[in-house]
Amino acid sequence: MTTKELNVTLDAEGFMTDPKQWTPEIAEVMAAEEGIAPLGERRWLVINWVRAEAAKTGEFPSLRGISKNSGVETKELYELFPKGPAKKIARCAGYGKPKGCI
């Protein structure tokens, strides 16, 4: 399955435009497209934390926020989501492209 076949709206860069449409299956499809499937326990820890945090604050957390508070530190984040962790985490978690500088 590809992200185009999912029944969700995506922007031109493949980010979901409505996080409420997200399901765990979508995360796995996004991960496959990003070359990091299957997600596994550590990546799920990050995705679940990010979704809970974003639901609480109304904003997608910064990468620094994720590394400080999710239980997965910077080095491991870059190993789990290589070549652009901010973007990969946002896609798998069903959020738009992160705009923060940090």
Partner: protein, 154 residues
């Protein structure tokens, strides 16, 4: 994101306000999967010197962006005041202090290099520099490393 894109930053200034732009850009590059290296030279050495990194300052004198008469900026205590104000604002933005920032960009895979000539000029040895520094390099060695990179001088 393109796999080949690469950023090389030269940090030549050691004030607090000149330390952040390079670190923020290097970190942003890493966050989007772009390779990044920083070369610290001249006053930029303060940013990676153990006993200086936590004491970088914002100096109001000679800085027109402070929008105050020069003589006021030169009064005793003004530098410390400007410094502590900037540190507070930076913290509000969830941006870490410089020492922690170096660790973060390094963990993110950004290379940190000290200039050989500046180290010698300032009598700094490897042990005087923060642990995150990957190596002390000559200018030619850094330029070799930066081959094909977009180069930024700060």
């Amino acid at each position: 994101m393109s796999d080949e894109r690469k950023l090389a930053i030269i940090c030549s200034k050691g004030s607090l306000d000149m330390a952040y732009p390079g670190l923020i850009l290097a970190n942003a590059a890493r966050m989007m999967g772009i390779e990044a290296d920083i070369f610290f030279t001249f006053w930029g050495m303060d940013i990676i010197t153990k006993d200086k990194v936590d004491h970088l300052k914002v100096v109001p004198v000679g800085n027109p962006a402070m929008h105050m008469p020069q003589f006021i900026g030169g009064l005793p205590g003004m530098t410390d005041m400007a410094t502590s104000m900037m540190k507070k604002e930076i913290e509000k933005l969830d941006v870490p202090p410089v020492g922690e920032f170096l660790q973060m960009v390094h963990d993110a895979g950004c290379g940190l290099y000290a200039c050989k000539m500046a180290s010698e000029m300032m009598h700094l040895k490897r042990e005087d520099l923060v642990d995150e520094v990957d190596a002390i390099l000559g200018a030619m060695e850094f330029l070799e490393k930066a081959e094909g990179a977009q180069l930024l001088f700060i």
